[in-house]
């Protein structure tokens, strides 16, 4: 799962939907059975795509996710990019590209801060199905 995806998924328990704590899901507690594993996977750089998704990013949530995964280098506020092809923007776009698209969460767990439910990621694929007792 890419960091970009972590920025748009929340707890699927219906009762959590109204809580501000259902997003983002947290990587701060991992289980020994499924240790957190990150990897870098090359993805072709598309400034157009990064510019298109940047407005859709929840920046504070991205800061949280990045911090929990060990990256504290992000600017505190969402950068504004008016001209994606301007040379002074290239490095920033490349950094965002690397973070959002090239960083893979191969396995690990994500926790809802509202209900405490844990979602597992295995082979890069998160599982958002709920056990019987969490479905109304």
């Amino acid at each position: 799962m890419k960091i970009l995806t972590a920025n748009f998924v929340q707890c699927t328990v219906k009762a959590c939907g109204s809580s501000p704590d259902c997003f983002p899901l947290h990587f701060d507690q991992q289980t020994p059975d499924l240790p957190l594993e990150l990897a870098h996977e090359d993805v072709d750089f598309s400034p157009e795509f990064i510019c298109n998704v940047l407005p859709r990013i929840e920046w504070p949530a991205l800061l949280t996710t990045a911090r929990e995964l060990g990256n504290t280098q992000l600017p505190p506020a969402k950068p504004e990019i008016e001209n994606p092809s301007a040379p002074e923007n290239e490095q920033l776009l490349r950094d965002l590209h690397t973070l959002l698209l090239e960083t893979q969460i191969i396995q690990g767990s994500m926790r809802c801060a509202n209900c405490g439910h844990i979602y597992f990621i295995r082979d890069s694929i998160p599982n958002f199905l709920l056990p019987g007792h969490l479905v109304q």
Binding site: V9, E48, R56, F128, L130
Partner: protein, 442 residues
């Protein structure tokens, strides 16, 4: 403004106009397609420029090629007259290029001898360049269409329409073969026909810089098709086995097979009715073939006997472990209705599509009682096209909606406010009973 001729595939006729309309919107090409006739493989259009002609067709699956029209008539004589009138000022420009002539006949054919005669009848254009059968600079094409029905009697060859044109560009029709399911490494029983998946992606306006989402991704047929056109693809499915495939054969290996791994965003496992995508997140298109429960009943998360979970406590195994923490845990599921799922899908699309973003959704319909009332509606979505693929005893439709711009005047319905449709029968029941029987019973 110039006249152009588009040659269309004689297949999936009901999708051709919708595809060209979508491509015109995507490429910002102004064109009037109202002359399109599903029974005719030729379509004459008026376009601003040769560049507009190239753009209109460059992604098309159902168009074959486009020509700049030099003349038209209903006989060879009237054609020549028109060519002379329209294009004599152009002839000097082509005097020295390499070229060849082509003849394309619909509902009829010409002998070699006749073909040579026709080509020679154009000698007045006075091209002096070399004739090259391979890679000429220009291909001049005579397209003729005979009156139907086809009469086998020789000599009785009434031409309905004959056109002389300069070849401009070919479509992408030849990539269908590249994505043929027979050549794809990871497929399953639900994999979707490559040609129609590509057409769906065109109608859904999949393009570079965009996110296309399939919430019923299965083996990823629509993901691959959307990515072919440059979109980043996102998929989810309730069935983790489909999404995961095997270590050596899965959706990701398909992306490697097509050298498109950079266009793959992610897949995840979820029940559509418990979707993890946060309410504020927008995607550019949703393209899918929802489950309609023909092979196995449509299921969502939940239990047939909810009392079992009334205490809201996790189930403990004999070992004392919680059952849902085991990697092989299978959550309980309950049956659901296809009509309710379609309503959920429209509601989701209205909430998550960008302004003017598209929902393309396949829907099975029983032939004999198909009517407008079966088309689901939502106040924030306009129906753009309704294309049908006919089978022997049933048909399926590709419904395409566009998200109305959020100018503040429209509101997204709360999930309880359902569209008012009456389903006489579940499609699934009909499928199993066999459509013919319904008629017999009447």
């Amino acid at each position: 403004m110039k006249e152009y001729l588009i040659l269309l595939a004689q297949k999936h006729e009901s999708f051709r106009k919708a595809e060209l309309e979508a491509l015109a919107e995507l490429e910002h090409v102004a064109v009037d397609l109202s002359q399109h006739d599903e029974n005719v493989p030729l379509l004459y259009v008026t376009l601003d420029s040769e560049e507009a002609a190239r753009k209109l067709i460059r992604r098309s699956i159902l168009a074959r090629s486009i020509f700049e029209v030099w003349g038209r008539g209903n006989s060879l004589d009237s054609l020549h007259e028109d060519v002379k009138q329209r294009t004599s000022h152009l002839w000097p420009e082509y005097k020295h290029v390499s070229f060849k002539f082509d003849i394309i006949s619909y509902q009829g054919s010409r002998t070699k001898e006749e073909q040579r005669e026709i080509v020679e009848s154009f000698s007045y254009v006075d091209f002096e360049g070399p004739i090259r059968m391979k890679d000429p600079d220009e291909i001049f094409t005579i397209v003729e269409q005979y009156k139907t029905p086809l009469l086998p009697v020789s000599g009785c060859r009434e031409v309905k329409d004959i056109c002389f044109g300069r070849f401009i560009a070919r479509s992408q029709r030849d990539i269908i073969d590249k994505y043929d399911l027979k050549k794809r490494k990871y497929i399953g029983t639900t994999s979707f026909d490559a040609e129609l998946a590509l057409i769906s992606s065109n109608i859904g306006l999949a393009a570079p810089g965009k996110i296309v989402y399939d919430p019923f991704a299965g083996t990823g047929s629509f993901l691959v098709a959307a990515s072919h056109f440059g979109a980043m693809a996102l998929g989810s499915d309730i069935d983790g086995r489909q999404i995961r495939g095997t270590a050596r054969s899965n959706i990701t290996t398909n992306y490697y097979q097509y050298h498109m791994e950079s266009q793959f965003l992610d897949t995840f496992v979820c029940d559509f009715t418990h979707n993890p995508i946060r309410p504020s997140f927008r995607v550019d298109a949703i393209i899918c073939d929802p489950p309609y429960g023909v092979r196995e009943g449509l299921k969502v998360l939940g239990s047939k006997n909810p009392e079992r979970y009334a205490d809201k406590l996790p189930t403990k195994l004999e070992t004392g472990d919680l059952s849902h923490l085991r990697p092989d845990y299978i959550p309980p599921k309950k049956p659901y209705h296809f009509d309710a799922l379609l309503d959920d899908l429209l509601f989701f699309a209205a909430a998550h599509l960008v302004d003017n973003g598209r929902l393309c959704c396949w829907m099975p319909t029983a032939n004999e009682d198909y009517g407008d009332r079966q088309i689901p509606t939502h106040p924030d979505l306009t129906l753009m096209s309704n294309c049908v693929q006919e089978f022997n005893k049933w048909s399926r439709r590709l419904l395409t909606y566009s998200r109305l711009p959020r100018d503040g005047s429209t509101t997204t319905l709360p999930p309880t406010a359902r569209s008012t449709r009456i389903y006489t029968e579940q499609f699934r029941d009909k499928y199993f009973r066999g459509f013919a029987k319904t008629k017999d019973n009447e």
